[in-house]
């Protein structure tokens, strides 16, 4: 079955995908640009200042444009499709994407926006050849915010009971968990960089809660350009 109506990248006639918190980004001083079919916050006035904020305390970024694909099926069938070293509680980096085990029969695959269509097509082919498996695109179903910097753990600790200590939540750690009283998933991409994913209907609420906690701890809003300079472009 084609589920094209779930995919942003098949839109045409100048349709631009927008974050639910675009107004908040604009009121925070964002300079918006259309990239890969999405209106994204390129910067908030000064990329250098954003980089300094990330080093000194934390940066908070809107990262919802990344591709998000859900694979369902028996663990053995998913193992045939996914990279070899999948393990619960840890994400695997392969093929330019994050492969996250939500539970043994459900995988979430995250990728840069520009890579979504190709990855989706490849997975659709793989799913068609496998038994009892399916693929659904959740790019717009899940919003994603990045929190990066030395204060990132403290910011997230204001909202979640997840044990974020490095010894407990190592790099590539991935956990379905409550964040701000909302069902969410947290991925520690590396060092002090965390990705928070949750139902996109909560985006405005979560942005308010996250920035409120973050600003109190010295965090700043960060745009896509700053993330690129840090080598952590959305979904990369």
């Amino acid at each position: 079955v084609t589920l094209e109506f779930l995919s942003v990248d098949t839109a045409r006639d100048g349709a631009v995908a927008r974050s639910s918190v675009e107004r908040a980004l604009l009121s925070g001083g964002a300079r918006m640009e259309v990239r890969d079919g999405w209106a994204v916050a390129a910067d908030f006035g000064s990329v250098d200042a954003e980089l300094r904020a990330c080093a000194a305390a934390a940066g908070i970024a809107e990262s919802s444009a990344m591709g998000k694909l859900e694979l369902q099926g028996p663990a053995a069938a998913l193992a045939d499709i996914a990279p070899a070293d999948l393990e619960p509680g840890r994400a695997t980096r392969a093929g330019g994407a994050w492969w996250c085990t939500v539970h043994p029969e459900r995988l979430l695959v995250l990728c840069p926006p520009a890579a979504t269509a190709e990855l989706r097509d490849g997975l659709e082919a793989a799913v068609a050849a496998a038994e009892r498996t399916s693929l659904v695109e959740l790019t717009t179903g899940l919003a994603a915010f990045t929190v990066i910097g030395p204060a990132a753990r403290e910011i997230l600790a204001r909202l979640s009971a997840l044990d974020l200590r490095p010894a407990s939540f190592a790099e590539r750690g991935f956990a379905p968990v409550s964040v701000g009283r909302v069902p969410a998933m947290v991925l520690r991409e590396n060092g002090d960089r965390f990705l928070v994913l949750f139902g996109s209907a909560y985006a405005e609420y979560m942005w308010t809660a996250l920035t409120d906690a973050g600003f109190a701890l010295g965090a700043s809003l960060v745009g896509a350009d700053a993330l690129e300079r840090l080598g952590v472009a959305v979904g990369a």
Partner: protein, 957 residues
């Protein structure tokens, strides 16, 4: 100013002055002072007025334990002056005294109010005439209490943070035991958090000669990586979570191991006038002297039950206080402290204690006598009246075991000392220091080291060397001899004046006896009746005295009386702490911002924030009938069910068939429970042979997804379920002009022949890939358009623009509710309840009992079909414009016989319409209903067919 010479380890900085105000008058303090120490330095001796009798109260514990120094700081009541550091410009006010702290007219209650204020007086006096109670209540609330809250304000005045902190080891208490435990655990590699109530860790070491050791231990702990939260109050123990209030933050600490090093609480003695300013615990007097360089008095009498009080006498003398007399309750006590006292030439009376404090607003003399174990003066002895301005009492230490007891430990009576010890600690919890029975700082530090090492070892840390060290520490601890103390008597009074058991609530020894006489003869009942232990000290000062008094009054032993249940919060805390940040999780459609810009009147609808209307609900509904309307229905639950068994799966869940639905077609479904009751409803569109698109109600989305997943886990069919609710926006374009608007936005052939009622098609709308469902909840030709949520505003704006020439208007939830009611489309949960089945809800056609195979609720529905229903769901109309409230009663034979579930005035139809559950005898067209609605009796006429377009011609057009 009564500062004495520089004290070793003093906390004040004599080079830095701080100014604040007390009751509007300027006060000069030193940096490091507390409010209380600064005021004491200025000569103040009365710090508050008591809860009920408005008696003057002075400093007692100087450690944040008792209620005697509660003040209001910058508008916040309930602040303990003895632990609150001074800040430049802070505004401090007294509580519970009118017109002033030193002259309180309500002191009359102490003199003349006794007959009117026995325990539970509000149940006995001030109850007649009954109509005067509101006046009494207002007066009583005005004259009693522990401060006033400010007027409610629309916004929070101060910020409260929540912080979750995981740790390997949590140590509560920063005295020698806690610091030692934290150091040992951290140095073995554990991640340790230490909480202490004081402004700096160290406990009584800081004021009792061990400040260098305390600060060295604290420095070592920090060096080992211990996170120290001080001042911080551990509020309780909740299945391993310990909330700690520190600064502006509530830390929720989840530790793998817990060490309670909460110390012991020095107890007051119960005697006549034991609440007079000038009566002070030995620890309080020593803190004033050593931390703040204040002389607590000029001449002191000291009443002790163990060496602690005697050591205080020596320390106070070193600080310049003249020691007039020391009473030691232990007859013939012979300890090093006794010898030291005698060597110093201090007058010591053994087997004696204080039986009264003399003075009106300040201690002027102490009356002492030799007493027996019950506190009665021994025959043949005489009382001594000793002039003094400071009466230092030390009634023994009670383990601060509340957190341990909350964690599951048992309180066990220790006859030798007359106190209860926490024992039988639960797994993962250790006790160290005085709370575990240590008698001095050295023992406490040793016991802390043992506990810290044990905690680290339990976490798999340490090595053979640390194991050997642990064994050596344990052996040393086992060899420590217990201390010597005399259990204090329940009361040692003169028989005149009040002896207070509970300073917080003004409960006297006589009140406890009175409650027993009235039948409240268990400690739990007496607590509730007299409110003893229910004040700000949370029983720290009064639990043991009240148990002793209960035992004395009932004739039971203290062990038989037992303790009250330890409950949180262990420390008093502002209610606002628990409120957290003022954010409510709300779901919003991705078009929500546009609705606000269009003037949408946004309200809660379940978990969602939705536009109820755009300012003209009647006009919006009429636009749908006459031209076209657009509503955001993104809140609908949306799921994809795919796999070869998808059709069979839905057949098992719903009472009607879906396996025979053709791809591209839609069918309505009512989801039932295994009892045949209506759980939810929605539409199901078959996308392909093995994929169905299922919509649910907005409020039922999560429950339905959970229901599907639960049954799939049981059945293990070849089916996958994915919740798409937030992934997709959905809008409903409805009205006679909807087809033309759709035609302008899509290449799809929207003719009735090509795109018929209950067809589902995929196409681009305004360039956006969409799923279009031709259904009509609002009763007009309509299309539900589902598309990626991130393109919500693009599609909404495009439709509004394309519809502008046709008079398209946005419409909200309220007009939608009128429109659906006109069609008698039910709202599950409003028109149905947990007892409603499809037969009774006038939907027998949805149940296909003739279909093959079992389905959820089949047995129950087969039974329901065969019995006479108790009630049926019908429509009703009212011609005269009355609109009964939803929930109004249907009256049958003078009693309730049903209820109105929905009601609105329809401007399209020019009459009131509604739905109601009625007895089957009234469920016929033309039957008359009598409705009781808030005192009114209304009449309505039953109808069983939709009020609008009953033949569905407009829907299908």
């Amino acid at each position: 100013v009564t500062r004495i010479g520089r004290q070793p380890g003093e906390r004040i900085d004599r080079s830095t002055e701080v100014s604040f105000s007390f009751d509007g008058k300027p006060v000069s303090a030193l940096a490091g002072d507390t409010i209380a120490s600064a005021l004491y330095a200025g000569g103040r001796r009365t710090f508050s007025r008591s809860f009920k009798y408005h008696r003057p109260r002075g400093l007692l514990c100087c450690a944040g334990q008792c209620p005697n120094c509660l003040v209001t700081v910058d508008g916040a009541p309930g602040v303990r002056a003895c632990t609150e550091p001074v800040r430049e410009g802070m505004e401090v006010e007294h509580i519970n005294a009118t017109p002033s702290l030193d002259l309180d007219v309500m002191r009359v209650t102490d003199v003349a109010g006794g007959p009117f204020t026995p325990p539970g007086f509000y149940y006995k006096t001030f109850i007649r005439p009954r109509r005067a109670w509101p006046l009494y209540e207002r007066v009583l609330r005005g004259v009693a209490g522990l401060g006033r809250l400010g007027r409610p304000k629309p916004h929070r005045e101060w910020r409260t943070e929540y912080r979750r902190r995981h740790a390997d080891v949590l140590v509560v208490g920063g005295g020698p035991a806690g610091l030692s435990a934290a150091v040992q655990a951290a140095e073995l590699g554990a991640d340790v958090v230490l909480v202490d109530e004081g402004p700096e860790p160290g406990g009584h070491l800081l004021s009792e000669g061990g400040h260098d050791r305390a600060r060295a231990l604290a420095a070592r702990a920090r060096e080992a990586g211990v996170e120290i939260l001080a001042p911080g109050a551990a509020l309780g123990f909740f299945d391993g979570i310990v909330p700690v209030w520190a600064g502006d933050t509530l830390h929720q600490i989840r530790a793998r191991r817990h060490i309670a090093a909460t110390g012991a609480i020095e107890q007051p003695l119960v005697f006549t006038g034991n609440d007079l300013p000038g009566v002070m615990l030995s620890g309080g007097a020593r803190r004033l002297a050593s931390l703040y360089a204040l002389s607590p008095g000029e001449a002191a009498v000291i009443a002790a039950v163990d060496d602690r009080g005697l050591e205080a006498a020596l320390a106070l003398r070193r600080a310049g206080v003249r020691i007039a007399l020391v009473c030691d309750l232990r007859p013939g006590a012979d300890t090093p402290a006794v010898h030291a006292l005698r060597d110093a030439g201090i007058d010591l009376l053994t087997g004696a204690t204080v039986i009264a404090a003399k003075g009106r607003s300040q201690v002027r003399a102490a009356v002492v006598a030799e007493v027996d174990a019950d506190g009665a003066q021994r025959p043949g002895t005489r009382r001594r009246v000793v002039p003094c301005d400071l009466l230092v009492v030390s009634g023994g230490d009670v383990p601060a075991g509340s957190l341990l007891l909350q964690a599951g430990a048992k309180a066990t009576f220790e006859p030798a000392t007359g106190r209860f010890m926490p024992e039988a600690l639960p797994e993962g919890v250790e006790a160290a220091g005085a709370v575990a029975g240590a008698r001095d700082a050295a023992d406490a530090e040793l016991s802390g080291a043992v506990a810290g090492t044990a905690a680290a070892h339990a976490l798999g840390l340490g090595d053979a060397a640390s194991q050997a060290m642990a064994e050596e520490l344990r052996a040393r601890l086992d060899g420590v001899a217990p201390g010597e103390a005399a259990p204090a008597p329940a009361m040692a009074g003169t028989g005149e004046g009040k002896c207070f058991a509970c300073l917080c609530e003004d409960v006297t020894a006589k009140d406890i006896a009175f409650s027993v006489d009235e039948g409240f003869d268990s400690i739990e009942l007496s607590k509730r009746y007299t409110t003893v232990t229910m004040g700000p000290c949370q029983g720290r000062m009064c639990q043991l005295p009240s148990i002793r008094l209960m035992a004395k009054s009932t004739g039971a032993s203290m062990e038989e009386v037992g303790t009250t249940t330890a409950r949180p919060p262990w420390s008093s805390v502002p209610m606002g702490v628990f409120a957290g940040r003022p954010f409510e999780p709300a779901k919003r459609s991705s078009i929500h911002g546009r609705h606000r810009e269009l003037g949408g009147h946004v309200l809660w609808a379940g978990d969602w924030r939705r536009a109820y209307d755009y300012g003209d609900p009647e006009g919006e509904a009429l636009a749908v009938h006459e031209r076209a309307g657009l509503i955001d229905v993104s809140t609908l639950g949306k799921m994809i069910v795919q796999g070869p068994d998808a059709g069979a799966f839905l057949d098992r869940l719903y009472p009607n068939r879906f396996s025979n639905l053709k791809p591209g077609r839609i069918r309505y479904g009512v989801l039932g429970s295994d009892a045949g009751r209506i759980m939810d409803d929605g539409t199901i569109c078959r996308l392909s042979d093995d994929a169905f698109y299922v919509t649910t109600t907005s409020s039922g989305a999560e429950a339905v997804e959970g229901w599907f997943t639960w049954w799939q886990a049981e059945w293990r069919m070849d089916v996958r379920i994915t919740d798409l609710t937030p992934a997709l926006c959905a809008v409903n374009l409805a009205g006679p002009k909807a087809r033309e608007i759709m035609g302008a936005l899509s290449e799809l052939d929207c003719s009735n022949e090509a795109f018929a009622y209950l067809d589902g098609k995929r196409a681009h709308v305004a360039g956006v890939p969409s799923l279009l469902l031709r259904i009509g909840f609002v009763g007009e030709l309509g299309y539900e358009i589902h598309f990626p949520a991130a393109l919500g505003e693009h599609v909404w704006d495009a439709i509004m623009e394309a519809g502008s020439p046709y008079g398209l208007r946005p419409f909200g939830l309220e007009p939608q509710r009128v429109l659906r009611l006109q069609k008698m489309h039910i709202l599950v949960g409003q028109d149905t309840d947990s007892e409603s089945n499809p037969f009774d809800a006038a939907m027998p056609w949805i149940v296909k009992l003739d279909k093959d195979g079992d389905f959820i609720g089949r047995w129950a529905l087969e039974n329901a079909q065969q019995r006479e229903p108790v009630a049926k769901l019908v429509g009703f109309t009212m011609p005269n414009g009355d609109v009964p409230h939803e929930g109004a009663a249907i009256v049958v034979d003078g009693g309730p016989g049903g209820r109105v579930t929905s009601s609105r005035f329809s401007h399209k139809l020019g009459r009131t319409i509604g739905m109601a559950w009625v007895p089957p005898s009234l469920a016929e067209d033309g039957a008359t209903l009598e409705i009781a609605d808030e005192g009114r009796r209304l009449r309505a006429e039953v109808t069983t067919t939709p009020f609008y377009d009953p033949d569905q011609e407009r829907l299908r057009s």
